[in-house]
């Protein structure tokens, strides 16, 4: 217990409080700007069991703020990369990595394994899924969200307090509010907000009185202004969710983030003319696609190299698994490309189906 000595000598924590931390199970959804700092303090502070869910891959443009990762993590799944680093920080606790997207199918089973959920996601569809699943499984959610220089923190569904839907009843129109990859974010900001989320998690476990339940804390990093706004509970928002308890999948189909992104399978590809592949993975990622009708432009450099892409072609965006390529299609659509698709299954599917020499 020497590791936790500075906690234990605090009279408000002591041996007993540290034991509560060691027995707690916390699930962090999203190992990005908010999830990384939250994870670092939760792991260092001795939360006994920590789950990390993230389907995404570490990209160079993440390193400006997601300082849990280093250059050696580039191209790795974020949940696995985070687990690797965190196991060095504290090898005495249990860390479970889930390299998958949180969906209406897996969310309830996953939440049932944990006591507290940390929302560090970057899109509304997952935020509403987290809210609804937390109501159904009766778990508190420690919420954080950021926009450019501003951040919000709150605790939802805690001791009969309000939920995210009591604050914002319905998801805004998808695309109406941009995320960090579209508008930028000050690197320090998610560090501050994610660290505040870790703090709220620890206060909940220790049973401290003044948790941010029923309150939305707002912080502006540019002006140093803070506001704490009172949120009232709206029981009808809870009923709305509980009525959909057995129907969560359908309830959430309408708020899927990527609903409008055109995708294509390798088989259907064969019927298209003037096909050009655009490989949006980082340059070092394997296996290589060795065919003449393929250009390599990493996702982070796509926008500045958009002139290299001919809009008369059928442009097929390819990445490792078919997730980054959807983001790439979004970027091309923004620049008025119409004939572009994300390749389902990514590079492995392509190589398998077309038997390209590697």
């Amino acid at each position: 217990m020497n590791r936790y000595n500075r906690h234990i000598i605090l009279s408000d924590i002591g041996q007993e409080g540290q034991q509560k931390l060691l027995q707690a199970k916390v699930l962090v959804v999203g190992a990005g700007g908010l999830g990384c700092p939250a994870l670092q303090y939760l792991v260092a502070g001795g939360i006994g069991t920590i789950g990390i869910t993230d389907f995404d891959i570490v990209e160079e443009s993440n390193l400006q703020r997601q300082i849990l990762f280093g250059t050696s993590s580039l191209g790795m799944n974020k949940a696995f990369a985070a687990k690797n680093r965190l196991e060095d920080l504290n090898p005495t606790i249990t860390i479970n990595a889930y390299p998958e997207k949180l969906t209406a199918k897996n969310v309830l089973e996953l939440f049932n394994e944990y006591d507290i959920i940390v929302d560090g996601t970057d899109n509304f569809s997952t935020r509403y899924l987290i809210n609804d699943a937390a109501i159904i499984t009766n778990k508190p959610v420690v919420y954080g969200a950021i926009y450019k220089f501003e951040g919000q923190v709150s605790v939802f569904n805690y001791q009969n307090g309000p939920s995210y839907r009591c604050l914002f009843p319905n998801p805004p129109k998808e695309g109406s509010i941009a995320n960090c990859s579209e508008v930028g974010v000050l690197g320090v900001l998610p560090g501050i907000i994610g660290t505040m989320q870790a703090n709220e998690v620890i206060k909940i476990i220790l049973g401290f009185k003044d948790v941010l339940s029923g309150k939305l804390f707002c912080y502006n990093a540019k002006t140093n202004q803070t506001s704490t706004l009172k949120i009232n509970k709206n029981d009808s928002e809870f009923e709305k969710v509980l009525n959909q308890k057995t129907n969560l999948k359908e309830f959430h189909e309408n708020i899927s983030c990527y609903a409008l992104i055109p995708e294509i399978s390798v088989e259907k590809l064969l019927n298209k003319d003037n096909v050009m592949f655009i490989d949006v993975r980082e340059l070092h990622e394997q296996p290589e696609i060795n065919i003449p009708i393929c250009v390599q432009i990493p996702l982070g450099e796509l926008e500045e190299n958009i002139h290299q892409i001919n809009s008369d072609n059928t442009n097929i965006l390819v990445c490792q698994t078919g997730i980054r390529s959807k983001k790439a299609v979004e970027i091309l659509q923004k620049h008025n490309f119409s004939n572009c698709y994300s390749l389902i299954g990514g590079v492995s599917e392509l190589i398998q189906q077309l038997k390209i020499k590697i």
């Binding site: 969200a145 926009y147 450019k148 109406s176 509010i177 941009a178 707002c218 706004l229």
Partner: protein, 77 residues
């Protein structure tokens, strides 16, 4: 009544300010919203909640305190 209105997040890009004083002679939050939308037509298409005296309130609420805040949801993480 002179109202002190604070704007958060992307709303500051519509209003080009983070706070301002507005002379208001109506009664409800809804009436105030009409005044603000007339001044900033783009607000009509934005999602946001309204707080009075640091408490989130509905549009039907009577204005009894000059401290008003307009708060959009954030998605970033």
């Amino acid at each position: 009544m002179k109202l002190h209105i604070k704007y958060f997040g992307l709303l500051t890009e519509v209003t080009k300010c983070t706070e301002e004083i507005i002379d208001f002679s109506g009664n409800t939050i809804q009436e105030l919203l009409q005044v603000l939308i007339t001044k900033y037509p783009e607000l009509e298409n934005k999602d946001f909640q309204i707080a009075q005296n640091n408490e989130l309130v509905s549009k039907e609420t009577l204005i009894s305190n000059p401290e008003i805040a307009l708060l959009p949801p954030f998605s970033g993480g």
